[in-house]
Amino acid sequence: MVKFNLRKDVAFAIVFFVGVLTAVEYFVALPDLRRIVADLQSWGTIIAAFSLGVGTINLIVIHGRRVSSRTQGYYNNFVLLLALTVTILIGLWGTNMHPAYQFIYFNALVPSDTAVWSLLAFYIASAAIRTMKARTKEGVILLITGILVLIKNTPAMGVIWGGFTIIGEWLLSVPNVAATRGIMIASAIGIIALGLRVLLRQERTSLGG
């Protein structure tokens, strides 16, 4: 009825076999199985490492084309390619302990990293002020819990009235914990179902159809 398709069936057989082994290994105390699964996992990490090449080629092709076709603002793309090349060359030539590498790492990479992070301080402020509005019943709940926890996290406010800390902590440790746990339990069931669909080959898109 169903024609055997070498290209796809082998891939799905691998998914099934590896998936079941990895799941079972956690529950049974078989040293051999444990070793096999540990090996499989390290192979997975190695494959993931190899696929970084695919991503990097993608990056180089996209930006390389912009530079060669002189798209508007192509110098940005050139800077990207230059930074990529220089970092790789220094990193491989003199290891990542090389002073030049450390200079780039601590004076360009880390501050930019932290700066993109800090954008969040601004965004979270504007998001809080925009969304914590008493428009609907749900909005009221969000607003009240939000304000109370914000106050709790401002120790100076706790000095005004000690109750703020108690209420804030109660909110975090009772309704928050309960809802989080509910979401976790439902997600876990969702994961088991999704895993089953993948293993039983009902869910095929993730492996290219």
Partner: protein
């Protein structure tokens, strides 16, 4: 007799029985003994609407699956995000809207390229597939973030789908999408990020809703059957919690202790 790891036996029994229940429902709907019915999930019906809106505005869609590695224990949400990517790729090809996928996981890159290509193929328009729209930006989280907000801004996206494992970058992307006036559908199982999605985005898929999303949009009877199975597992979980709590109130810790095995 196979030796079991102490402390994990209860989890194993739970896994086996849950898989059995879900599998049974899946099987029942496969042999047409059951017609699965599922409720509407607002966030998922919104996907097609927002793609339609992109067509009207002539602006592209942005899609991303986040940072949960495929080789780690949170892989499921990335798989769910990739499955939905196939659906969105097909729709965007049908509507003739440009789909921009930004990526920060190396192992997702080959998969994503293939999934988008297959999606376009399924819609009968393989010729409009352009690998330059499946962009690997960086596996360095914040470098990805800066790249992604740059892309979103310059391409003036009109719809933003963030479905998968999201962490610190969630709000920066969502606020950028908001500032651009894009319709945003986001989903994750990462509880710490859900508040941002729930407040900033137009639609949010909370935990299990994301994981079931691909089954839902597939409209495939067999997959929908497994969603019904999920509900039965939830009923069992609720009954166990209730029973355990009542028993412990009465001073009987037997069921509770069973879970520690």
């Amino acid at each position: 007799m196979i030796p079991l790891v102490p402390g994990r036996s209860s989890a194993m029994i739970i896994l086996i029985s849950a898989a059995f229940l879900i599998g049974a429902m899946l099987f029942l709907s496969r042999i047409r003994k059951m017609t699965p019915k599922v409720r509407k999930v607002a966030g998922l019906t919104a996907i097609e609407e927002s793609i339609g809106r992109c067509t009207e505005m002539g602006r592209p869609i942005h899609y991303a699956v986040g940072r949960s590695s495929l080789t780690g224990p949170s892989a499921a949400e990335t798989i769910a995000g990739l499955s939905l990517l196939g659906h969105v790729a097909k729709l965007s090809a049908q509507y003739g809207v440009r789909l921009i996928f930004t990526n920060q996981l190396p192992e997702v890159q080959p998969l994503a390229e293939d999934i988008v290509k297959q999606g376009f193929l399924a819609a009968g328009k393989p010729e409009i597939y352009n690998s330059q729209n499946v962009r690997f930006l960086s596996s360095f989280a914040m470098a990805y973030t800066s790249g992604a907000i740059g892309v979103m801004y310059r391409e003036k996206i009109a719809a933003n789908f963030m479905l998968g494992g999201w962490y610190a970058e969630s709000l920066t992307l969502a606020e950028t999408g908001f500032n651009l006036g894009a319709i945003q559908v986001a989903g994750t199982t990462q509880v710490a990020q859900l508040p941002f999605f729930a407040t900033v985005c137009d639609y949010v898929l909370i935990g299990e809703e994301l994981l079931a999303a691909a089954a839902y949009v597939s409209e495939d009877k067999v997959q929908l059957g497994s969603m019904v199975g999920q509900d039965f597992v939830k009923v069992v979980a609720i009954l166990l919690i209730a029973l355990g709590a009542i028993l412990r109130t009465l001073g009987v810790d037997a069921l509770y202790n069973l879970f520690r095995l």
